[in-house]
Amino acid sequence: MMEKEGKIVNLDNVVVRFSGDSGDGMQLAGSIFSNISALVGNEISTFPDYPAEIRAPQGTLSGVSGYQVHIGAKIYTPGDKADVLIAMNPAALKTNVRFIKSNSVIITDSDAFTKKDLEKALFTTDNPFEELGLKSIQLIEAPITTMVKSSLENSGLDNKGVLRCKNMFALGIVCWLFDRSLSAAENMIKTKFAKKASIAEANIKVLNDGYNFGANTHASVSTYRIETSEKEKGFYTDIDGNKATAYGLIAAAEKAGLELFLGSYPITPATDILHELAKHKELGVKTVQAEDEIAGICTAIGASFAGNLAATSTSGPGLALKSEAIGLAVMAELPLVIIDVQRGGPSTGLPTKSEQTDLFQALYGRNGESPVVVISATSSTNCFDAAYWAAKLAVEHMTPVILLTDGYIANGSAAWCIPDIENYPSIKPNYIEKDIENWKPYLRNEETKVRYWALPGKEGYQHRLGGLEKDYNTSVISTDPENHELMTQTRQAKIQKIADFIPELTVQGETNADFLVVGWGGTYGHLCSAVNEMNKKGKKTAFAHFGFINPLPKNTKEVLSKYKKIVVCEQNLGQFAGYLRMKMPGLHIYQYNEVKGQPFLVNDLVNCFTKLMEE
């Protein structure tokens, strides 16, 4: 079991999973660990896995909260299975056993493995490891509770405060295991508890105790040195998808010279976008926490009418409530960014889990012929670019844009090279120009079909918009049959024209293979890793990943028709596959679908691709 006694093992990547009660502070321990790893040059990708309950009963299976960190070189995902599991109680061990490798290192708080604790987690024997069939693990049993209590005996903290420091003891052990210097972690703790010096001090003391415990007593377990990678030069920060989305909107507003307005109603897992934007009053961001989802989008539509860069953020059920208002923005031809952080559905579904099941809702979930731009973000950091593009297309083409992210990339984080906004494409709102003759509110650029934006407050351009159909030439209400068809086709053509303004589809991996893997949105990392693994094994695989969905990139058909076998992978029952079949009849498409609320596993993808290839 411990054959590599006392040795330092070099690995190109490692997956660490912190887990405990949802009140145990596992997210904090995990995020500090990922940040200090990034500081030494590791690539990082993280994923929190938290329960829907805010505080389920302590020690029970439903109350387990997890935070997975993948560090190393060429990291695209938070990793399939963990090399190291920190299990603060038996429930954490039990719920995470399916997420760990068979030979993983497991660190437990042995004080939390009493008979009573085991019963709470529904173990029936005294040996949970045996009961779970964990035979080849390396176990570090640390009496964390006892040691933290004695360490903080004279700290002045009450019992509750003392126990809150347990996560830092566990982090200390992990830092020892991966040869991480503690000074960076200490600085982060100081920042986190800047206003509570005594708590910061206690946490730092316990962190060191944990590290020393590892060094003193477990010199026999292998410690790891993780590969660092060559990265683009620049300043980096750790960013999750929701933050990146918020920043992308701010950047777009800055570029476009518009004020940013967010109308939103809290909903998991999208709320952090509202939280982040609400913080940035210094950048002039206006946020309205509306009375409901409908008011969230309607305040944004009002703000758009009045000349702000307007956005609303939500998740699947909220998008359903907003659908009538999206139709209004289609009809009024107003710019609007609608962010849907997809979660498990239908109905309330799996609020804290991730899926790609809202694609059809985004494309078609409205009455009437109601085309909107639909784009998706491919990773946590890509949320920045995707939000920027969503805003750019909205204001330049006077249309609502639905941006699909998902719970996985929204909460997952990775190191992000802080970009220079100057190098981003320009954003030029389609304002009314002075020399336009015979201006009417629905007068449009004949080439792009985009109408001009005249902002209230501007003299001489008073106009009335509305949800009723308007005459193509006069812009007054019209029920004329020919006109309605013309307007319907014009709105459709306007969206289709956008294909001329977005990047073309690119192919990665072995581009001249016969076999093409296709994905869209937040599955990019897993698909990319799986394709890399296929090619490493000599199984030539090409990979095309879609960010832009409606309209599709212009060269989509040309690219797809080059391949003999195409498999479209998505976390739904085949919505994008169906969409491609409809848009490009004749393509023979295989599907890989999973609807488990969890990210794909690279290993499963590789197995599926191998099988398909051999078919």
């Binding site: 300043f235 950048l283 409908i294 309607c298 305040t299 307007a310 209004l328």
Partner: protein, 337 residues
């Protein structure tokens, strides 16, 4: 009177008005044009937002900026307009179905938030555009196409909802009464914050005569009381009747009877923080009481749009960061060289 910078016609759209002949909306539209001219806010600085329903067609008949939106959501859209550009004078035109049924949530929350918009609620106690169903203000037992045996539910009183949402401005007028309408619409616009003007409006087709008690000038002198700031509450053909407080209730008295003089009457004060008396007045119903018209409540309070702008200004005064990149560079970052 000072000369008007703008004339009512400057707010009028030449497009043909399509309400039924005799509809109360025509009268209100004219009063609104007059009130806007009186206010003197330029048409291009004025935005009129509506939802869906007969009255919600109104923005098309304005020469201001206008937005005819979706059913019930006018208040939410108007809120966004005002927060985005607080310089605009924002009106929301709505009806009893639009604001009190499908849009009830936005109605109460825009009032609670105290966003500076002027809500004109045309209350005809019926759904006109869908051809005659009862509305949330139709009285119990009201017979309509969707209640052939009479309704079995009680109506809302718009004023009660506005007060329940802690409203700071409430006024009432009758569609045909241009003088009072112009007066209360002007007062509503001058009030900073959410102001509600209930317009008792006649639907000639589906609910003709619903406000007949106050539909003519003669009826109004007898059956209504025009509340005026600082003046005793007097009404009646010969100004012989008045209102007094009796315990927690109001009572109609006749001046000269039982030793009652004008000095015994209540004096209207729309500006008291406490809304108890305002509620009592607004809730008075005919025939037991006269129907209260005029500005019933008009109390100063911080507005939402000002508070949003103020908070931004306060943070900006302390924090010089204006660019996203500058903010990011101050965060938790590391450099790769």
């Amino acid at each position: 009177m000072t000369e008007l910078i703008y004339q009512p016609k400057d707010y009028k759209n030449p497009q043909a008005v399509r309400w039924c002949p005799g509809c109360g909306d025509h009268f209100l539209l004219n009063s609104l044009h007059k009130a806007m001219a009186e206010l003197g806010i330029p048409p291009y600085q004025t935005a009129v937002i509506s939802g869906i329903g007969c009255s919600s067609r109104l923005p098309y008949y304005m020469n201001t900026y206008g937005f005819h939106t979706i059913h019930g959501r006018g208040a939410a859209i108007a809120t966004g307009v005002k927060v985005a550009n607080p310089k605009l004078c924002v009106w929301q035109i709505s009806g009893d179905g639009d604001s009190l049924a499908i849009g009830g949530n936005h109605f109460i929350h825009s009032i609670r938030r105290n966003i500076d918009i002027n809500i004109v609620l045309l209350n005809n106690r019926i759904y006109g555009l869908t051809k005659g169903q009862y509305s949330p203000t139709s009285p119990r037992g009201f017979v309509s196409k969707s209640s052939p045996f009479g309704t079995v539910e009680d109506p809302f009183r718009p004023a009660e909802l506005a007060f329940g949402a802690r409203g700071h401005f409430f006024a009432r007028t009758v569609d045909v009464d241009s003088e009072v309408s112009v007066e209360v619409l002007t007062a509503a616009a001058r009030h900073k914050g959410a102001s509600v003007v209930e317009v008792l409006q006649n639907c000639v087709i589906f609910n003709d005569g619903t406000h007949s008690a106050v539909a003519t000038k003669e009826n109004r002198t007898e059956n209504a009381i025009l509340l005026e700031q600082g003046k005793p509450m007097i009404f009646g053909k010969n100004k012989e009747k008045g209102l007094v407080a009796e315990g927690f209730n109001l009572k109609v008295v006749t001046i000269g009877e039982n030793g009652i003089t004008e000095k015994d009457l209540l004096v209207h004060d729309a500006t008291t923080e406490d809304n108890t008396l305002h509620q009592k007045l607004a809730n008075m119903s005919y025939p037991e009481f006269p129907i209260a018209l005029g500005v019933i409540r008009d109390v100063k309070a911080p507005t939402y749009d000002e508070a949003v702008a103020k908070q931004i200004a306060e943070v900006q005064a302390k924090n010089p960061t204006r660019k996203l990149k500058d903010f990011l560079m101050k965060g938790d970052i590391w450099e790769i060289k």
